[in-house]
């Protein structure tokens, strides 16, 4: 419809407020034109979602049951991919490492940001400084953070052992030791990602009404009791939300083990996503890679569903 035509109908409406409904054929044509226009706006986004989200999700499940090499004819193999992947000695190691990484990240990377946010919320000076500095590592590309810490962890000349020597503590093998490698990677991930968590906690802490603390104090609650009975219940939702998000994120860890340890030493840092990468690009076994992807997808999908449910119900009640 051209601009003038539209303007003419508007004018008509102004003159005859009670207008007879247009003939049915005309109305349907207009509705079709409206739909065509709406889909004109939608089509770019839809094609991208279809090609790069919906189709790959379906395809992962299909290929998980196929023998698949790019360019070749796919061949149905039933659950052979799953059994082969199960029997891979790295399979157990990858899942163990991923779960340990997630657990350690929760232990190390969860309490620290909360305590930091608690302290920062009490400080009345240099607020901008703290916020910018804590978020700075988040803006450094993850690859650079990983390479930086790889250099720090160097057993000979690295800064990490230098710090231990300075404090007269025994030195460590850090990322080069089979028993310390995973913890070393958790430290890197925590350092690099903590800023966002701290800022989210800070925002949550600031929304706690001051009267609650006042009332608790009048009732004789000491500092720790106030944290326990006011702060934590009041931020319960954010704590839970961030915990789910962190589980989802850390179970997909890839950059740190790939860059810092290369999965070693002795498979100590091979993660599930790393194993998926190896199956696809080292073994050229896309069926196995997709079988692993589907397993990861199912597990993380459950956490994501819990997260979405949580944010949606809380969003409605808030």
């Amino acid at each position: 419809m051209t601009d003038t035509a539209q303007r003419r109908t508007v004018a008509k409406v102004a003159v005859h407020p009670v207008q007879a409904p247009p003939p049915a054929g005309d109305r349907r044509r207009r509705r079709l034109a409206d739909q065509a226009r709406a889909y004109g706006f939608l089509v770019g986004g839809l094609v991208c979602f279809a090609l790069f989200s919906w189709y790959p999700a379906i395809r992962a499940v299909v290929i998980a049951f196929q023998k698949y090499t790019p360019g070749g004819e796919p061949e149905w193999v039933g659950t052979a991919n799953f059994t082969r992947v199960f029997q891979d000695p790295e399979f157990g190691a990858a899942w163990r490492n991923t779960l340990t990484f997630t657990l350690l990240a929760l232990l190390i990377g969860f309490a620290i940001p909360f305590v930091l946010a608690l302290v920062l919320n009490e400080l009345r000076h240099a607020k901008a400084f703290f916020r910018v500095v804590v978020y700075l590592p988040v803006m450094i590309p993850p690859v650079v953070s990983a390479l930086l810490w790889k250099w720090f962890y160097d057993p000979g000349t690295g800064l990490a052992n230098e710090a231990l020597r300075f404090l007269h503590l025994p030195t460590s093998n850090w990322s080069n030791g089979a028993d310390t490698a995973l913890v070393s990677l958790v430290i890197v991930a925590t350092w690099a990602n903590m800023g966002g968590t701290v800022l989210i906690y800070l925002a949550a802490l600031q929304s706690i009404p001051g009267e609650l603390y006042e009332a608790a104090e009048l009732d004789g609650a000491n500092l720790l009791q106030r944290v326990r009975h006011v702060t934590i219940p009041q931020t319960r939702f954010v704590i839970l939300m961030l915990m789910l998000l962190q589980i989802i994120a850390t179970m997909q860890v890839f950059t740190e083990p790939f860059v810092i340890t290369g999965g070693g030493p002795e498979n100590a840092t091979v993660t599930v996503l790393y194993l998926i990468y190896k199956y696809a690009f080292l073994y050229n076994d896309f069926g196995g890679a997709c079988a692993l992807s589907v397993m990861l997808l199912v597990l993380l999908g459950a956490f994501s569903a819990a997260y979405l449910r949580l944010t949606r119900t809380e969003g409605e009640s808030a």
Binding site: D34, F41, L42, S53, R131, V133, I276, R312
Partner: protein, 286 residues
């Protein structure tokens, strides 16, 4: 400003409270400097040390002699201009595609009542439940089938399939008053015209947030470009750094790391107020 927190203003005003406050304050400043600023300082100055000084134990806190050659060597030896340019092209394209396709789609879903709009929105939101990294392999195969390997388009178009940004835009458009849009229509503006001259100017804050998310995501990504760009000349800086890190002198590598960090850190320092406010507000609102 005087909303009370865990500690009461009265407790802080007491001499003991003041002493504790300033001790904690100093301790926190020191902790932040050591934990977050010092590694960055170490990186920037490490690149300026000579090859044997950087490997020395105990290390020197300040370079004995400042060499700029680390930086210039990195620039030339590692072909940083080329890789930086690749990253810029990838990030700019992804940003533009996201702005164009996601705003158009969000506008349609929010204001144009397409048939099956609810189903489509549901399908888009469902992808939030699918962890992105778990789908990289089938996504890679699709990109390969389309002949997009080693092509920046392989970064641009998948970036559009970002349910989070699309939903952010849709939620914002939902809040725009209907009568303003209807008034524009009365004045004879078409859908595109309404989007361009009414909706977009009113949506500047959310467009800013989406832009920052889009740029940061591409600049920081590693696994996807690692898969897609096997051709060394096409690789963005993140992938190139790792590929080249094996056979390059340490000072040169460190210098390259610093250079790779500058664009995002500079953007953060320039827009830090907005970025920090956005993180806090976005999260607590859910």
């Amino acid at each position: 400003m005087s909303t009370r927190t865990l500690l009461s203003p009265a407790a802080l005003a007491r001499p003991r409270g003041k002493a504790v406050y300033w001790t904690v304050f100093t301790g926190t400043v020191l902790l932040f400097v050591i934990a977050f600023l010092f590694p960055v300082y170490w990186m920037v100055t490490g690149a300026m040390k000579s090859a044997d000084e950087v490997a020395r134990t105990p290390p020197t806190l300040v370079p004995e002699r400042w060499h700029v050659s680390g930086y210039t060597d990195a620039w030339d030896l590692m072909q940083l201009p080329e890789h930086l340019w690749n990253t810029v092209v990838q990030a700019a394209g992804a940003w533009l595609c996201q702005l164009v396709f996601c705003t158009a789609a969000a506008y349609a879903l929010s204001k144009l009542r397409p048939a099956f709009g609810k189903v489509i929105l549901g399908g888009i939101l469902a992808t939030l439940m699918v962890p992105a990294q778990a789908l990289v392999v089938p996504k890679y195969l699709t990109v390969a089938d389309l002949g997009l390997l080693n092509d920046p388009v392989a970064i641009w178009l998948p970036a559009v399939a970002n349910a989070f940004n699309l939903y952010l835009l849709k939620r914002f458009f939902d809040q725009l008053p209907r009568d303003v849009l209807e008034a524009a229509e009365m004045d004879g503006a078409g859908r595109l015209r309404t989007l361009w001259s009414i909706v977009l100017p009113m949506s500047r804050p959310v467009l800013g947030v989406v832009s920052i998310f889009a740029l940061v995501a591409v600049w920081q990504d590693f696994l996807w470009p690692l898969m897609v760009f096997s051709d060394t000349d096409k690789q963005p800086i993140s992938v190139a750094l790792v590929q080249l890190s094996q056979n390059i002198p340490l000072t040169v590598l460190i210098a390259a790391m610093v250079i790779a960090s500058i664009p995002m850190v500079a953007m953060f320092l320039a827009f830090q107020r907005h970025i920090i406010a956005g993180i806090g507000a976005g999260s607590t609102k859910g």
